[in-house]
């Protein structure tokens, strides 16, 4: 089981990376007072046909086929449904995949959000060739980090340059 929502994010994004995505967006939207807690992850990877999209949601499908997608999708779906929330996966071959989850934030079985900062940092610098758009919204604030913008500001300096890593780590501490 995943003990944090942030670990779920890491895992779903790992699928997007395996699918060859160049652009991945991760949106987290929380209502501090109410039950709204949305996680929306979109990629422009290879996508899946409807049969495969159905199969990757089944935890018992994986062992026999040696598929490349791990257990991350069924685990996330399980977490969503345990909290009384909803899970949807839409995918189109050649276009990409989108996973949208609505958790019921008031449910006692909902794992904590966890360490979102480290998740964003390691994804951004561990996959320098991929553009990430991270958005975190709650009732009081909104945080957006677009790594395409970061790269543009950096010119030819790679996003995984030591000084950039240190900068991003501090930047996330301050703003997220």
């Amino acid at each position: 089981m995943m003990d944090e929502i942030a670990s779920h994010i890491m895992d779903i994004v790992a699928n997007s990376l395996t699918a060859g995505a160049h652009n991945i967006s991760v949106l987290i939207e929380k209502d501090n007072e109410g039950p709204l807690f949305i996680l929306d992850i979109k990629d422009d990877g290879v996508g899946m046909d409807s049969e495969t999209a159905k199969k990757v949601q089944d935890p018992f499908f994986s062992t026999k086929t040696g598929r490349k997608v791990g257990l991350g999708i069924p685990l996330l779906k399980g977490t969503a449904e345990t909290t009384g929330g909803t899970f949807s996966l839409t995918s189109e071959p050649g276009r990409g995949t989108r996973i949208r989850v609505a958790f019921n934030a008031g449910h006692p079985d909902l794992p904590p959000l966890g360490n979102l900062k480290d998740t964003i940092l390691v994804l951004a610098v561990g996959n320098p060739e991929v553009n990430f758009l991270f958005t975190y919204k709650d009732s009081s604030r909104e945080f957006v980090l677009d790594t395409a913008e970061v790269k543009e500001l950096l010119g030819g300096v790679p996003i995984n340059h030591p000084e950039v890593i240190s900068f991003l780590s501090k930047y996330l501490d301050e703003h997220l």
Binding site: M1, M2, A6, S7, M10, D11, A14, L17, T18, K68, G70, L71, G72, L75, N115, D118, T119, L121, V122, L123, V125, G126, N127, P128, E149, V150, L153, L154, G155, G156, V157, P158, N160, H161, P162, E163, V164, I165, S166, F167, S169, K170, Y171, E174, H175
Partner: protein, 119 residues
């Protein structure tokens, strides 16, 4: 602190980027499949990334990859160094990662007690 400050880094770092060959001297690859993530691969990747940043190791690149296929030894880390065998470390955690940075990456001595495969 705002993103515009990246431009300063850009000016400062441009020189060593030019000096730095296209190919990094050492590549550290952390396996980030479901079982790796569940057993702490993010913390391992973060430790490598931060240690490399803190020590300003401009010739080392840290990246992530998918499942490595040996769930019982996750989190796993591969260290690629030009002209040397690839060392695969298993059951990594932040403390072990720090030791690998110091002993293997900085000083060139692989940590044999954590290595599970040398290819």
């Amino acid at each position: 602190m705002n993103l515009e400050e990246l431009k300063k880094i850009r000016e400062k770092a441009q020189k060593d980027v030019e000096l730095r060959q296209k190919q990094a001297r050492i590549r550290v690859v952390v396996g980030m499949g479901t079982s790796g993530i569940a057993s702490g691969a993010r913390e391992v990747l973060k430790t490598f990334v931060e240690e490399i940043g803190r020590r300003n190791l401009t010739d080392v690149v840290v990246t992530q990859t998918g499942e490595k296929g040996l769930a019982s030894r996750e989190p796993m880390v591969e260290v690629f160094e030009e002209g040397k065998p690839v060392v695969v470390y298993g059951s990594m955690d932040p403390e072990r990662s720090k030791r690998v940075v110091v002993e293997h990456i900085v000083n060139g001595n692989p940590v044999s007690e954590y290595a599970i495969e040398v290819m």
